[in-house]
């Protein structure tokens, strides 16, 4: 049994405590340790990714208590992909936060950041439903702190709304877990899968209630319409690097849906078969439409990026709703793409806001920006990635989703929706871009040379853009890995055997 699995949880947890206790007032030391921790986390995550690539399901029994009595961490391909994505995103966005000085605009940015990473990695790795709740709470409580980092009246109010919404979600999560425990007598995910399969289909009302409640909880996290109301204000008001990291948080909800509805309430389980796929599909189509129309209708850049995040979740959830191997592989590919693209969009929006002075994020003609050309290019790249145009990975992702949904009943509706909303997104991004970058007013302080800009934020943005390009260039090898991931997810017997020690 390898101890490396627990590192993505332990390392940020210990680091956060050390950052708080030992170097509270030394922003320089905090930056060094935080970046070093993120680099180590990324290295470990890549190691786990390679290890999981062999197809083994690694189980880590915390405290050496055997499952289903103890809590287990489980590493399979999907967990490894998501942890590696988290670590990579966190490192790049952390560099942006340091370069732009966001981390110094309030206290305790780095410890909260590390706790956030601990919660996200834990949620991806855990093999216990109640432990998933605990990691959700860890990542949420850190996100509450990060959300109101640097303060401000509107941000605090948006933060309160965000906290209230998520506390309601947590309550619902506990009700769901209680129901499932009352029916099955276990909370270990592999054990739940076995017990749920033993329940006769005509005596499964409570099980279906539990499954539905859980779905609602994950739908809140994944911002599925009509449970998305927390997202626009939160993402638009949060500090930009935090909003960029939050790009992975909606994916936690999508991951949980994927995990629970392939492993426990799988397509083969009579009691809960066809319980959520229709709701998920139509909800996702609605999410996509509202997100993309929101891009067109947004009057501020922050809200535009927030609605782009909602729209990308729509495409992702459409792919998940297929519940076939091909659609799952497409969904994970699109999840990787939309995380990188969403984060890039938030960072570019921040670059623009920081340089426009009083005009900030409002979509009205403003002064010419410092480094106008570079930022215009970055916006162009982010817009292409978000709208899903070639040559970037958004195009390949959408193509994969379209291909995977070919055999579904509502295929024409899905295709029309995805292609139509892509056009709306292109229009929205083009409109916003032309207002911000082309319709510049004559600057009144033109004589003044613009202050020197730090290079690190641009480096971080170009790294994200490079990641999107690499995802498109290496789509073949990535898809091979993800197809194996999907195959592993849709054959949960190996996972269950590994956890319950029958393998």
């Amino acid at each position: 049994m390898s101890h490396w699995i627990v590192v993505p949880v332990l390392l940020p947890a210990i680091l956060a405590a050390v950052l708080t206790l030992a170097m509270r007032y030394h922003i320089g030391l905090q930056r060094i340790f935080s970046v070093a921790g993120s680099v180590v986390l990324l290295a470990v995550a890549l190691g786990l990714l390679i290890h999981a690539g062999t197809g083994a399901v690694e189980v880590y029994e915390l405290g050496n208590w055997p499952a289903p009595f103890g809590i287990v961490l489980v590493l399979d391909r999907l967990s490894a992909v998501m942890v590696a994505l988290t670590a990579a995103l966190a490192l790049v966005v952390l560099l942006y936060a340091i370069g732009s000085g966001w981390d110094a605009r309030g206290r305790n940015f780095h410890p909260l950041w590390q706790f956030q990473l601990m919660g996200i990695s834990g949620a991806f790795l855990t093999g216990d439903a109640f432990n998933l709740f605990v990691f959700f709470e860890v990542l949420l409580i850190a996100s509450y702190g990060l959300m109101i980092h640097a303060g401000g009246g509107r941000r605090l109010k948006a933060g309160v709304q965000y906290v209230i919404y998520n506390l309601l979600g947590s309550t619902l999560f506990l009700f769901a877990l209680g129901t499932l425990y009352a029916v099955t007598g276990t909370l270990n995910m592999a054990d739940l899968a076995e017990r749920a399969a033993e329940i006769p289909a005509d005596d499964s009302a409570l099980l279906r209630v539990g499954a539905m409640l859980l779905f609602l909880v994950f739908a809140i996290k994944a911002a599925l319409l009509p449970l998305h109301f927390w997202l626009p204000n939160t993402y638009a008001e949060a500090p930009a690097p935090v909003a960029a990291l939050f790009a992975i948080m909606t994916k936690v909800g999508a991951y949980a849906i994927l995990r629970f509805y392939t492993l426990i309430f799988g397509p083969d389980l009579d009691a809960t078969a066809a319980l959520i796929d229709k709701i998920l599909l139509y909800g996702a189509l609605l999410t996509l439409a509202v997100g993309m129309i929101g891009i067109l209708g947004a009057r501020r850049l922050g809200r535009l990026a927030a609605f782009a995040a909602i729209g990308s979740m729509g495409t992702l959830l459409i792919a998940i709703a297929g519940f076939t191997e091909a659609s799952t592989a497409a969904a994970v590919y699109y999840a990787i793409h939309s995380t990188l693209a969403g984060a890039l969009l938030f960072l570019v929006v921040d670059l623009v806001r920081e340089r426009r002075g009083a005009t900030a994020g409002a979509l009205v003609p403003g002064p010419r920006l410092a480094q106008h050309g570079i930022i215009t290019a970055l916006w162009f790249g982010a817009a292409i990635a978000t709208a899903g145009m070639p040559p970037l990975s958004g195009f390949i992702g959408k193509l994969l989703v379209l291909d995977a949904t070919r055999d579904m009943g509502a295929v024409w509706l899905i295709w029309a929706m995805i292609l139509g909303t892509s056009l709306v997104a292109i229009l929205g991004m083009a409109q916003a871009g032309s207002v911000v970058f082309w319709k510049t007013t004559e600057s009144t302080e033109a004589a003044e040379a613009p202050p020197p800009q730090p290079a690190l934020p641009l480096v971080a943005c170009f790294t994200l853009l490079g990641g999107i390009v690499a995802l498109a260039v290496f789509a073949g090898p990535v898809m091979r890995y993800l197809e194996a991931t999907a195959a592993q997810l849709h054959a949960p017997a190996a996972y269950i055997a590994a956890v319950l020690g029958q393998g």
Partner: protein, 117 residues
């Protein structure tokens, strides 16, 4: 006992939901607190209601109560306690900066900086 428990959970959930849907932060926080009470009782009841039974295996005892929900409730209590403290602090901060305790965001003013420091 089952009826008492079930109706208590139901009434608390209903009252909590009603309060959460109010517009001021204080009733909303009270509502959240009521909801967490309700969910704690609910979790407690998931292990079946048994009176005067030991939660650990012992010789010569036939009826047991399920110990796991008690551990789960303890975790849930600790977490909801912490979360309530956080939301109280944030609501207080929002109240002190904006001078009103309305939950809704004011309409966006195009001259105000969005996402700025």
């Amino acid at each position: 006992m089952e009826l008492l428990m079930a109706s208590a959970i139901g009434v608390m959930t209903a009252a909590g939901l009603y309060l959460v849907l109010r517009l001021r932060t204080f009733p909303v926080i009270l509502g959240l607190a009521l909801l967490t009470y309700a969910v704690n009782y609910f979790l407690f009841a998931t292990g079946r209601l048994v009176v005067n039974a030991p939660p650990v295996l012992r010789d010569g005892v036939e009826t047991y109560t399920d110990p796991l929900p008690q551990a789960l409730v303890l975790t849930a209590i600790v977490i909801s306690f912490g979360m309530t403290a956080v939301v109280v602090m944030m609501a207080l901060g929002a109240y002190l900066t904006a001078r009103d305790d309305d939950v809704t965001l004011p309409p966006e003013d195009s001259t105000e900086r969005e996402g700025g420091a």
